[in-house]
Symmetry: C2
Subunit: 215 residues, 2 copies
Amino acid sequence: MSIRLLLADDHRMLREGLRRSLTDAGFDVVGEAADGEEAVELAGQLLPEVVLMDVSMPHLGGVEATRRIHDAHPEVRVVMLTMHADADVVADAIRAGACGYLVKDCSIDEIADAIRAAVSGETTLSPQLAASMLGELRKLDRGPADPEERLITKREEEVLQLIADGCSTPEVAAKLYISQKTVKNHLAAIYQKLDARDRTQAVVRAVRMGIIRLD
Amino acid sequence: MSIRLLLADDHRMLREGLRRSLTDAGFDVVGEAADGEEAVELAGQLLPEVVLMDVSMPHLGGVEATRRIHDAHPEVRVVMLTMHADADVVADAIRAGACGYLVKDCSIDEIADAIRAAVSGETTLSPQLAASMLGELRKLDRGPADPEERLITKREEEVLQLIADGCSTPEVAAKLYISQKTVKNHLAAIYQKLDARDRTQAVVRAVRMGIIRLD
DNA sequence: TGGTTGATAGGCCGCCCGGCTCATTCCGCT
DNA sequence: AGCGGAATGAGCCGGGCGGCCTATCAACCA
């Protein structure tokens, strides 16, 4: 029997191309989702063997969607796709229950291999990622049985998104009905968690991690 | 005869998907480019009827690559692809000689229509873009015969890229062997051109316009 | 019940940032 | 020869920004 797949990516162009290529490669694409929420919903309804999930999607990021799918249906394997090779995101994704991580520059054959590996319980990483992971290996060394931590809190995410939308500290404070000081407190926490030292770095890292979006 | 196409996008996954879908749709994909320079080179060698070009690519952005292809081979039609619906970029792309502009959320059918329209000399815009263009129409009204202006200069682009990489003003100055004052001057010029008021806004807008990249 | 975490908020300090005006040099185009 | 744009640089100034420390309150959890 062919492997049943769910595709989750916010760009129809990529979804349609993947659907055709993966269908030709012998897989059974049973559904497509355009955002994280839809992915969680369809994964529960269709119970595919593997979900191919983009990191950066509207409404709900790929990592959080992966976490929910994994919690609700541990038998569903999730393979993540991303634009950028960022070791930190890989760690988050793996903690969230993903069993594969590919950059979008890989070939259809590599995707097919990763899907088959996922079904048989193996974890696949893009070569580009494997290399950058080696440099970050020490960080993972500290705690393998880490409780599934949602690095950025909901409130911090709201602040971060407004910053990315071009708001200054006073503007963010006004929009969230809190004081400027609180905004700065959230920002300070964000800088520490994302290893950034100013709002620009924080936005760039958050975008790469799929936490926020550039609409 | 089927229409000869060149695909230019830095993500192999998207290229392979598009190649298969467009081949099935009756087009003749004669080449693939992974960055702007390669696109210019291959366009010159292969002389395809249409180039499908991503806005954001390494080494050379899609808009600049389009300009060079258009200057060297005016008979080659270029259709641009982008993640974001940004009216300003559309204006730049059209000035650079593009005869189509699609967001990556459109379907294969829409791409096929845009390619056929391009061949017959028409210009196609994604519906999402057509809508946002209406709001910006006044800006285009002022000067239709605008000289092909490269909004951001080379030096400004270097500064912007370093800022996006997380450098502060003193760090950018050190890396470029210029004074902090000059960096701030370039930034001031950038803010004006991109309609931004701080570095974070400038980086976000520049990324959406494909001027710089988030590696 | 006490410990942890998230969200709220204040003060203080120093520096970087962005706005303003102005000057110089070099290059390319007319 | 001259004009304009790009790149370089300076000074001034006010405000935003980031670092650091402390504090309160509610929720949750062991």
